[in-house]
């Protein structure tokens, strides 16, 4: 009997192997065929812009105050110090305090780690979602302050997108949410100073 079984096995093995192989090839082909009718997963880039997220890190830029249009950089040079690639150089204004006269970022060196945006105390330097920055010369990748600074509208859009608070919003919050710091009713110096600061920003504070 054992001999007979062996003969049967020898005779059927190639057949079962062939059937098995054909089945699996057709299973694979069927799986591929199922995928032919679905929507394409690629997107044609220049005609359709990719969807980016608010945290996406691309070209660096400098914000202005969305309310007043005043440049936010205070020349503290925190970004210059933290940059691992040393691609940022800030030149402080010789006469005006807390203002930068020139600001260079070499985008050819930058690796878009986003450390400078984290240390910035005034939310001035940010990563925009603009990634189309190819140039013909390497020198053109060094952006100066004029090329880096965003317009007021752009700044407002980025402030909203990233959830930053403008100076005005911060001042309102401080005045509203912290009644303990409000001076006594007869009026002290600090209260007046706060009011004056808010008046300068054009803010009305609820009493």
């Amino acid at each position: 009997m054992a001999v007979l079984e062996k003969i049967i096995e020898t005779a059927t093995k190639p057949v079962s192997k062939t059937v098995d192989g054909l089945y699996n090839i057709f299973l694979g082909m069927y799986t591929v065929f199922k995928n032919t009718s679905r929507d394409p997963i690629t997107s044609s880039y220049p005609t359709k812009m990719p969807e980016l997220y608010s945290r996406s890190r691309h070209r660096l830029a400098l914000n202005v105050d969305p309310d007043t249009g005043e440049h936010l950089c205070i020349a503290c040079k925190q970004c210059e110090r933290v940059c691992p690639d040393t691609c940022i150089s800030v030149i402080a204004h010789p006469d005006v305090k807390a203002k930068s006269s020139q600001f260079y970022i070499d985008h050819g060196l930058c690796m878009f780690c986003g450390l400078c945006t984290e240390v910035c105390p005034t939310d001035c330097i940010i990563n925009t979602v603009d990634f189309e920055m190819s140039e013909e010369n390497r020198e053109d990748l060094i952006y100066d302050i004029r090329k880096l600074t965003l317009t007021q509208e752009q700044s407002r859009a980025y402030f909203q997108m990233k959830g930053y608070k403008t100076k005005r919003e911060k001042a309102i919050e401080k005045a509203n949410a912290d009644p303990s710091k409000k001076p006594p009713a007869e009026g002290g110096i600090s209260h007046k100073a706060v009011e004056a600061a808010l008046a300068a920003l054009g803010v009305e504070v609820a009493a």
Partner: protein
Amino acid sequence: MAIKDADISTGLKTEELVINMGPQHPSTHGVLRLIITTSGEMITKCEPVIGYLHRGMEWLAQNRNYVQYQALVDRVDYLAGMSDSHAYVLAVEKIAELQVPQRAEYLRVIMAELNRICSHQLSLGIFMLDLGAMMGFPFYAFRDRESILSLLEEVSGQRMMFNYMRIGGVHMDVPEGWLAKLENLINDKLFHYTDEYEDIVTNNPIVAVRTKGIGVIDPKKGLDAGLTGPNIRASGVNYDVRRDKPYSLYEEFDFNVITHDAGDVFARYKCRVDEIRESCKIILQAIEKVRGLPGGEHAQADTELKAKKILPGFKCPAGESYECVESPRGELGVHLIADGTQVPYRLKWRSPSWFPTAFVPELVEGQPISDVVATFSSLDVILPDVDR
């Protein structure tokens, strides 16, 4: 032998031929050069030449402070940046004795496992590409990888160079609705997609002929050579850093360590496919745990994400530590010596890709030249990880 005898009889002789494979060979996963000496179709000698991608990651560490170097760490193994970051931050945290908040630990686990899935998917796609499946299969893997990469971009800001894990925690909490998105992706798509790979590849007789019984790694030799990860697990060695030397909060998760006994190219492929499913399971558990934390899906305070605010002037106390994690390629370790200044005194990477690269000659010598690419590709070596 038969060929040699025939040559002598006709007065012809064969000479050994030296072939340079690489450094710009498309299937060398980076820039590796293999100097192959062939006798006819058979390989008699193989010599890997590395160093084309050397960037001096260890030297850079000694010239940058801890925060600055954190941004560079993702480049060590660019397909699994989260694992690199994880090893580095663990090493620094051990010396600085920082207690990472639970939420940050779970987020780290989620990100590292997501990154493992997309690294394995890329390796599967490229593996089939190297076997000759030029059209078709690689795009399935890349399709699925894309959906994971966009999730990672949403949370960290970039697709591959994340810079997400920080010393003492993670950079930011996940955005609104991100966890639900991830859960849907895994439940609706990733399990199904992985079944699709199996349908197309696993039982295909043509793939079986090209991969079964080829490039067999002996478990003893493999261990001696320092192989870790899926490469050695496919040879039957049951070793996984996540289970055997638990770091982060991996003790809390229930997952299987995948092992196969054959040790050949096919077993390594199968090991990776199965690991994708295990990673999916870990992520689903981690999502549940994050939701169970006080505060629910979203962190209420910064202290839930960072043990301590680490400023660029952070000084790590003097000390020495070695911390390893299970990267998609194996045991990835960081040996850090700190001397109490802002800059590491010395940092050494134990990168899991180096060991299989050195093991390639052992595997391919005596084999036909057509198996080199299949064998090398199945080891899933990433050259930036080798050269650092």
